[in-house]
Symmetry: C2
Subunit: 403 residues, 2 copies
């Protein structure tokens, strides 16, 4: 057996000699990388990558030190993968490989990995009550919710974003493998979004409704807006959450067949924007300022009362704004109806969900004409800690541990 695999094995075990942390990268290309360490986790203010794999896990044990060890091992693996390296070298033909291998020849593709803690993690199993983030609470039920428990919740989440689907999947695959026996995969959502071919980084991608989506989003490079709306100030929350944020994930199925049969005029009045240009109704250019008080020649609001962009606007929601970061999904056909099971995996980041997402969604669920076409089929809320450091793995602040 050794004779057959000697040379090939060499590459996979080359990193093993010097220990995991000092191993050389084996991947042939490096590609663009995003920083892993820092004040904030990657995958939040990071320019949106083209592909996403989002996983929720349940912790199977009740051992706090086991949870800390898992998060520490994930941190080491995540740092390596985001820098285009394999998780670990193997130890020869008689052991499983240290990396599952499907990204061996692929560059880092701007991979980011973002961890979050769900409300259920603070239910007493791990004695974490005193460290519970102040703004972490289960979302309320909204009118029209059609949540599938199997696609909702989770003790932990990991958002993997990369410009290559295989790289994003590889990251979740390996974290799930490392977590074997400590965590169980609860759900995994695969998604796609902004693509390199979409007219450059400045072009606004379209969602599956055919509309440009994200025109009025918060701008991640606007530090003032990020501090105001996204990053937690440790003085207002648990100190360990300083530089962290709260993630809300909603799997929003779109009834595309019904949408496709609606008229162009109906679609545009439902959204409040023109389909081709993305301009607010009555305006010309996508980036024209949305004037919610503007009237048409008959004295009616240009942006209808029930338009999506009116219901979602900060001005309608006491100034509440969120950083959106969603991906389209296509999960085949709904066997009960024969219709497409496709839509938007909506992700947003904020300082306080109750003041931001919950406020906005409460209005959308009752006043947004678009809600007719949507089913919210999955939901999760997670506290994302600040960025890890060399001696501060994920969970360090919460669990008081180091590698």
């Amino acid at each position: 057996m050794l004779a057959g695999s000697g040379l090939a094995t060499a590459a996979l075990v080359a990193a093993a000699g010097s220990g995991i942390a000092g191993a050389d990268p084996v991947t042939s290309g490096t590609g663009a990388t995003e920083p892993f360490y820092g004040a904030h986790q990657g995958g939040i203010a990071t320019p949106e990558q083209a592909r996403m794999a989002f996983a929720a896990f349940d912790v199977t044990g009740t051992d706090r030190s086991g949870l800390a060890a898992l998060l520490a091992s994930w941190t080491v693996a995540a740092e390596r993968m985001t820098q285009g390296q394999i998780v670990a070298g193997g130890t020869g033909p008689f052991a499983p490989p240290g990396d599952t291998g499907e990204a061996l020849d692929l560059p880092a593709a701007r991979l980011t990995l973002t961890v979050g803690f769900g409300p259920s993690l603070f239910d007493g199993r791990f004695g974490l009550g005193a460290g519970r983030p102040k703004a972490l609470a289960d979302l309320p039920a909204f009118p029209g919710d059609a949540l599938d428990p199997a696609r909702s919740g989770g003790d932990l989440c990991v958002q993997a974003c990369a410009d290559d689907a295989q790289v994003a999947f590889h990251a979740i695959h390996n974290l799930a493998r490392l977590g074997l026996g400590a965590v169980a995969l609860r759900y995994l959502q695969f998604g796609f979004g902004r693509t390199a071919s979409a007219g450059g980084d400045s072009a606004t991608p379209r969602n599956l409704l055919g509309f440009k989506d994200g025109t009025d989003n918060l701008v991640p490079t606007d530090a003032g807006a990020m501090d105001r709306f996204v990053w937690v100030d440790g003085a207002d929350d648990q100190a360990w959450m300083h530089g962290g944020t709260y993630l809300v994930a909603r799997r929003i199925r779109v009834h595309l067949e019904a949408w496709d049969r609606s008229t162009l005029g109906d679609q545009e009045r439902t959204i409040g924007r023109a389909k081709a240009s993305g301009a607010p109704l009555g305006d010309v250019h996508e980036r024209d300022t949305v004037d919610l008080s503007a009237l048409d020649e008959f004295g009616n609001p240009r942006i209808p009362d029930s338009a999506h962009i009116r219901a979602a606007a900060p001005a309608t929601n006491h100034g509440a704004a969120i950083l959106r970061r969603g991906y389209s999904f296509v999960d085949g056909v709904d066997p009960t109806t024969g219709e497409l099971d496709a839509g938007l995996f909506f992700l947003c980041f904020q300082r306080d969900p109750s003041e931001q997402f919950v406020r906005i969604q409460s209005r959308l669920a009752t006043q947004d004409a678009l809600a007719t076409y949507l089913d919210h089929t999955g939901s999760g809320v997670f506290a994302c800690p600040p960025g890890p450091g060399l001696d501060r793995p994920w969970g360090h602040g919460l669990l008081g541990t180091s590698v």
Copy 2:
């Protein structure tokens, strides 16, 4: 309402004036395009694109002329989409848009659309018995099949491949929309594969097992091999099938959790190749010739008797070879086990499935060590007609119609 959407609507209706066929493209970029008309359909010998959306449809009516009209309308739409154009201009705000719009700003991304006819299309509903392709027959049951009827079969299939996931989905979305009332979507599989970042076009992509996949595949530019193994000769089959081929699709779920726990040596002996390099066991380079008779120093076969590449090799199967064109899929978590529902959507093209895929799969199902890790959860076989022409829409030869 008109006031609000006038300018924006203009772009979407601009193409309407001169009729669909003469409309100008509205998409802003063109990108690389693949030819739509020709002796063979695109998406078969075409260099593999990075993304796939594969749909199977059932025809809901029993009207032969209705089927012909559907296929003709699909042909017009498909030609336009493959060339980076919208399906059709709309007719203003009081009608649904002529295109769903999510690819409006995207280039053609080398989109190809490939149609096939399933055995069920010839069951008498359309009076097509006399035109039935000679080699079109339901696949036999194989040992270990775990087929889900909802992911198998179909009267018609459409394979959409493109370098952009949104472009591939857009194509299926619009054909399904055009088929409303005439066909019902049976299943839709989304997949990913070779990526632009994978070291250039010559690099062999890896599957989710972490192994290079496709090293010994037929080479689509080898016209002799394509004529011998892939393209139908009308003298041997229905004349209208000349230049066509047969497609077999298998949704192969991989039990990644079990695979990940197997040792590197086991994995390499299961496949018959080294994981890192892709070389046949005992050799050095990926492209080294596979010598199934080579022995190691102990007198045992270098490529084990149960190795996947031995069981699949043409030499083991009376020379049978197929053109493989598979894509990896990730469909989340299997709710019954909590394991990943991921694997390979295997597509292959051939002149005669009974002599090629069926022969090979019969051996793989019983002699391939890899079969332990696999479940075949979906299956389909389709006769793909030759390439369409300006006056020969899809279905022309079979249904005797023209646009």
